[in-house]
Amino acid sequence: MSKPIIDIRNISKVYQMGSQLVHALRDITVSINQNEYVALMGPSGSGKSTLMNILGCLDTPSSGTYFFNNTNVRELNDNELAEIRNREIGFVFQTFNLLPRASALKNIELPLVYSGVKKYDRIEKAEAALKSVGLEDRMEHKPNELSGGQRQRVAIARALVTSPSIILADEPTGNLDSKTGEDIMRLFQNLWESGNTIILVTHEEEIALHAKRIIRLRDGLIESDELNHNQVNFN
């Protein structure tokens, strides 16, 4: 068994909401290995979003330890968190979050700009990423000239371009019709099969069934964490 990329031990997250303390996460322990395909499930208020934010290094836990590739995330400052997000994590959002006035290629280049890659290398990598999602003929298109599915593909290409350790997808099919959603799920499967580690956050059972492992959360606790024996396979 390889060393886990994500190693979370006994983490909790407590928010102050007015005079009340809200326990979004209570004593969670999870580890995720390389090339796993994990679905994170739960109804709203289950702590799923909080866990995703912590996994994505957008937030830090109140207590417990989080090792990302052997780095203790709790000890990192703002800039170090930004750097880990930049290099190690590829985000895919429900609403795509593309820059509306920038071309597909420019959108994909953005994380490389922040990691200081030279212009020539940037374009080369962005073109390769766009090709891997099958949109090499849409390089100069702006988001509003692309369909929803195409936009999400651009967003996935942007997540891939830095060759991150994990791809963190938050309801990636939430804004798509079921046919297009299926295409996107097929793309995730291909990425997983070619060696990527994928964490899928969703509240839809159907979508979660594409993953190899399903973690269910409820009231800030892990309800179940088991392998999915009914994985939907496109091949």
Partner: protein, 409 residues
């Protein structure tokens, strides 16, 4: 990520938000226009005064009843009681310092008509009475014919040296020497033509006729008119001594009491320049003040516009942070954006200000020069303005929480 990328992104975003950028740009341009316009206008004015008005030459000074530039309401009251400088005072002064300096005397009548046979000039010629050293002190040549001599003055001869404009109007290519012209009812023989000088402050220096002061006083001067005296020391070393002697002699001649101020003005190149800068100082001050108020208003406007822009782009900022933009780069992005807009506005203001001052200078007959100092001042002010008004919005943007920012609708 480097500065170049920031600037590129900033320019991109400026083009996206055209109207907003234009309004910001305009407010900065107006402020800079006021500063640059008044500044460079004053520069041209000062330069003109320095190079053309203050043309007394080295080791020279000028004596007159009142200063050549008068500012303030009380000046008329202050000077009106002063006794005029008359020919007798001039003669006595000349006797006293003749061995140390050239002494010339001048008196003018403007708006004269000069006639030659059936030709006549417009009523705009300046008639000047003076003596033989005027040409030396004022650095004027008489390339055709001769200038006025001591004997011409002493014997009150009816001879005249004419300026180039008058020559062109009346003689048009004919040799004027020995011809008779008429000034009023008096006949004069033309003995020379002055070299061409061009215009100062829009007034031609060639539209004049020079005659001996003695003749001038007899026919063209009113009894109350005061004379101007110019003195040029023979050398630099004797200049302070000549100045002292002159002041002493004049005070005695004009019976100024010990302890009283001089009842006349002594002007050197330096003092003339100084008097003008006193006058132009007001204009600079006013331009700066107006510009600063306009820019202060612009600054508040820019801060406000940038805060709105950041609010609108909250999700974009959240996304950039999620993708790994450090605080520093978010700060830079918005700061550079603000500064780029203000600098473009500043450059427009500088251009418009310079164009305006050049046009005005042209019509006033001032020298048009590129005022580097005011360009540098304007650019510095604009840079500081962009920095100050952009810093707070940029910090606000950089310190947004990425989770909240991404969720922002």
């Amino acid at each position: 990520m480097n500065l170049f990328e920031s600037i590129r992104m900033a320019i991109h975003s400026i083009f996206i938000h055209k109207l907003r950028s234009f309004l910001t740009l305009l407010s900065v341009a107006i402020g800079v226009f006021a500063i640059m316009g008044s500044g460079s206008l004053v520069s041209s004015f000062d330069e003109t005064v320095e190079t053309e008005m203050a043309n007394l030459g080295e080791n020279s000074f000028k004596i007159s009843r009142t200063p050549s530039v008068q500012t303030g309401r009380d000046s008329w009251r202050k000077y009106r009681r002063r006794e005029r400088i008359d020919f007798k005072q001039y003669s006595k002064l000349k006797d006293k310092i003749e061995d140390l300096a050239f002494v010339s005397v001048e008196s003018n009548q403007s708006n004269m008509i000069i006639k030659y046979s059936e030709f006549e000039t417009d009523p705009d010629v300046t008639l000047q009475g003076t003596n033989e050293v005027y040409f030396n002190i004022n650095d004027r040549d008489v390339p055709i014919g001769r200038s006025i001599t001591e004997a011409d003055v002493e014997f009150d001869r009816n001879v005249a040296v004419i300026g180039n404009d008058v020559y062109n109007k009346l003689f048009n290519g004919i040799n004027p020497i020995g011809k008779n012209i008429k000034i009023g009812n008096q006949k004069f023989e033309v003995i020379g033509v002055l070299d061409e000088k061009g215009a100062i402050l829009g007034k031609s220096q060639d539209n004049q006729v020079i005659i001996p002061i003695t003749r001038f006083n007899k026919y063209y001067s009113n009894w109350w008119e005061s004379l101007d005296i110019s003195v040029k020391a023979f050398n630099k070393e004797s200049f302070p001594y000549v100045l002292d002697e002159t002041i002493g002699a004049l005070r005695t001649l004009r019976s100024d009491q010990p302890g009283d101020d001089n009842s006349f003005e002594i002007e050197t190149n330096e003092s003339i320049t100084q008097q003008f800068s006193g006058l132009t100082g007001y204009l600079t001050y006013f331009g700066l003040l107006a510009g600063f108020f306009a820019l202060a208003a612009a600054g508040v406007g820019i801060t406000n516009i940038m805060l709105v822009a950041i609010k609108e782009r909250t999700r974009e900022i959240g996304l950039r942070k999620a993708l790994g933009a450090r605080r520093f780069w978010i700060t830079m992005q918005f700061l550079v954006e603000t500064m780029t807009i203000t600098l473009i506005g500043g450059l427009i203001g500088i251009s418009l200000g310079f164009i305006m001052s050049s046009v005005i200078s042209y019509f006033l007959g001032l020298k048009v020069s590129i005022p580097m100092d005011w360009i540098i001042i304007s650019i510095s002010i604009t840079t500081v303005l962009g920095l100050i008004s952009g810093l707070y919005p940029a910090f606000r943007a950089a310190s947004l929480d990425p989770i909240d920012a991404l969720r922002y609708e």
